[in-house]
């Protein structure tokens, strides 16, 4: 029973932990994609003032576009004549609008990211790993990076980008500049919106209309709720696994009770004989042992609940989680224990009730 409660409790704790992690990332985030399979609206794209339109919505903190430049884009730290072709393909280039940085909450290791003032300049922000690869530990000297031979000034190095890990492995340049040199985004651009807590759903509903009142269907905004579906399936798989584990523990417990009761029956043959000689019917004997095993199960459930609860608290402390235990588990455990005891006691009780009173004399 202890194992049962502990396993169930740790499952709930782990689940709620997963919940809170997902929520921290997702419940304030909306992602807008374009419906590219729409044959008639092939030419549609995010409007030029997309960022401003979305930022104007209530509950939006920041919004930014981003898309990846084609895989053939060449990136080099050397000017054109000497420009090595060797770096091609290993470094990707992302086009991002200025709002992207605040919408994704990146942290900067050195320098700065570009804002609206720099949105039309040839500047670049690189990930930490890329900076090493291109040999630019410091941005103080305004190093240059050449993208298809076009020079860009590196103004910042990223340390982390939890929501868009891709940007750590990319050279990011202003969207306007990217569009000027390399044309329309292909694959299509996506928008990331950071919202106030709880506003994600509403913002997601309003976004398509805000972007294209004429054809809102072109844009598809997803929130954490969709991400939650994935989370649910992950944690329900986990739940099934843990539940199977808990059930195995229960079965082992039941076998234990059955064994204990059976041993008790065999040890108390003479007591059973005595009771029979005093006028006990087989069903009296059976009921006695059934009650004993039920009580054993209930006590096991109670003790197990407290031991299990302490285990959960212990594990949670060790992992610095918030211990979560559904009251249902705690309340039900003694009853499950009793039911299990009853079930486990069936066979031993049957055996006990079949013992003949004559046994009392044989000892």
């Amino acid at each position: 029973m202890a194992a049962f409660v502990a396993v169930l409790g740790i499952t709930t704790t782990a689940n709620s932990q997963i919940d809170s992690r997902f929520d921290a990332l997702s419940s304030t985030q909306v992602i807008v994609e374009q419906q590219t399979d729409d044959p008639f609206l092939d030419a549609a794209d995010f409007p030029d003032d997309a960022e401003a339109r979305i930022t104007g919505l209530a509950g939006v903190r920041a919004a930014g576009l981003h898309w990846a430049l084609g895989a053939n884009t060449r990136v080099s730290a050397q000017p054109p004549p000497a420009g090595g072709r060797d770096a091609v393909g290993t470094i990707s280039v992302m086009a991002v609008s200025p709002g992207f940085w605040s919408a994704t909450g990146v942290s900067v290791k050195a320098g700065r990211t570009f804002d609206a003032a720099l949105a039309d300049d040839r500047v670049a922000v690189v990930g930490e790993g890329i900076a090493d690869q291109l040999g630019m530990a410091d941005v103080g000297g305004q190093p240059a990076v050449f993208i298809d031979d076009v020079p860009f000034t590196v103004i910042g190095v990223l340390r982390s980008a939890d929501r868009v890990p891709d940007s750590l492995l990319s050279v990011s340049i202003p969207a306007n500049v990217a569009a000027r040199y390399w044309g329309r985004p292909d694959p299509p651009a996506r928008m990331i919106i950071a919202t106030d807590v709880g506003a994600a759903r509403t913002v997601a509903d309003q976004t398509p209309v805000a972007l294209s009142a004429a054809d809102p269907d072109h844009f598809k905004a997803t929130t954490a709720v969709e991400a939650r579906a994935l989370r649910d399936s992950v944690s329900s798989d986990l739940g099934v696994l843990f539940l199977v584990l808990a059930i195995i523990c229960l079965v082992i417990g039941a076998v234990g009770i059955a064994n204990t009761t059976l041993v008790a029956v065999l040890e108390r043959v003479s007591e059973i004989g005595l009771r029979r000689s005093l006028g006990a019917l087989p069903r009296h004997i059976g009921a006695q042992f059934l009650m004993e095993s039920t009580a054993l199960g209930a006590i096991g459930g109670l003790v197990g609940t407290s031991v299990g609860t302490w285990c959960i608290v212990g594990v949670s402390l060790a992992k610095s989680w918030t211990a979560t235990l559904t009251p249902w588990t705690v309340v039900a455990a003694p009853f499950i224990g009793a039911g299990l005891g009853l079930l486990a006691g069936l066979y031993p009780s049957l055996r006990a009730s079949r013992i003949e009173p004559i046994e009392a004399f044989r000892r």
Binding site: L278, G279, F361
Partner: protein, 236 residues
């Protein structure tokens, strides 16, 4: 002495018991035995002669392979197990060589077990248990645990338990077998005293001196039963 059926507690006619097996054991050959109300019958015989077999039959713990058994005027042969259990519980008290007490329950509770499987009120059961313990001279040991008692005290508790149900018949299988001679003497004195108060007793022993306590003695040898002596006419 009269042997009218009204006075008989036990009436065995041609009762025999053969245990199945290879070869089958004829533990008790066909025998006739009448036990009158107030009798103190002792059964002697060497080990394995069939004494316990006889006691089990009288105590309704076993069924004879042939013959008829009338207990308190009722032919118990055709009764089902349920009815026999009820009769056993109400009419027969058992005293075992090994006492068969629950060691961790106080004396009073052990004695109250005698009436546990009856529909009587708890107050009545308590009263009858107290009375029985008083009757065996253990009124002062009511709350004591058998595990803390001497052998003689334990057997007295067991006798009190057998008496608490107010049986017609007390069946004792070697009740002094586990006691030293002085203690055995005092327990036997208790049996004589109970018998003097009219309780019918059947007592198994392999000790001739113990057997002499009864007013009648039967001897079993290889399953054959013979009456040895009737010493007084008290039961008639």
């Amino acid at each position: 002495m009269s042997s009218s059926a009204d006075d008989a507690v036990v009436q065995l006619t041609g009762v025999a018991r053969t245990y199945e097996g290879f070869p089958p054991v004829e533990a008790l050959k066909p025998c006739d035995l009448t036990i009158e109300r107030g009798d103190f019958l002792t059964v002697v015989g060497p080990s394995g002669s069939g004494k316990s077999t006889l006691l089990n039959l009288i105590g309704l713990l076993d069924r004879p392979t042939s013959g008829s058994y009338v207990l308190d005027g009722v032919d118990v042969g055709p009764l089902d197990e349920r009815q026999r259990t009820a009769i056993r519980g109400h009419r027969i008290g058992f005293v075992f060589q090994t006492f068969q007490l629950l060691p961790h329950r106080p004396a009073l509770e052990n004695v109250m077990m005698a009436t546990l499987y009856r529909a009587s009120a708890r107050g009545d059961r308590l009263a009858s248990a107290r009375e029985a313990l008083h009757g065996v001279g253990l009124a002062h040991r009511i709350g004591a645990l058998p595990s803390r008692m001497s052998g003689g005290e334990r057997q007295r508790v067991a006798i009190a338990r057998a008496l608490a149900g107010n049986p017609s018949l007390l069946l004792c299988d070697e009740p002094t077998g586990n006691l030293d001679s002085a203690t055995a003497e005092s327990v036997l004195d208790l049996f004589s005293q109970l018998n003097a108060h009219g309780i019918t007793i059947v007592l198994i022993t392999h000790d001739g001196e113990v057997a002499a306590r009864g007013n009648r003695t039967v001897d079993i040898r290889d399953g054959r039963l013979t009456e040895l002596s009737r010493r007084d006419g008290r039961a008639s």
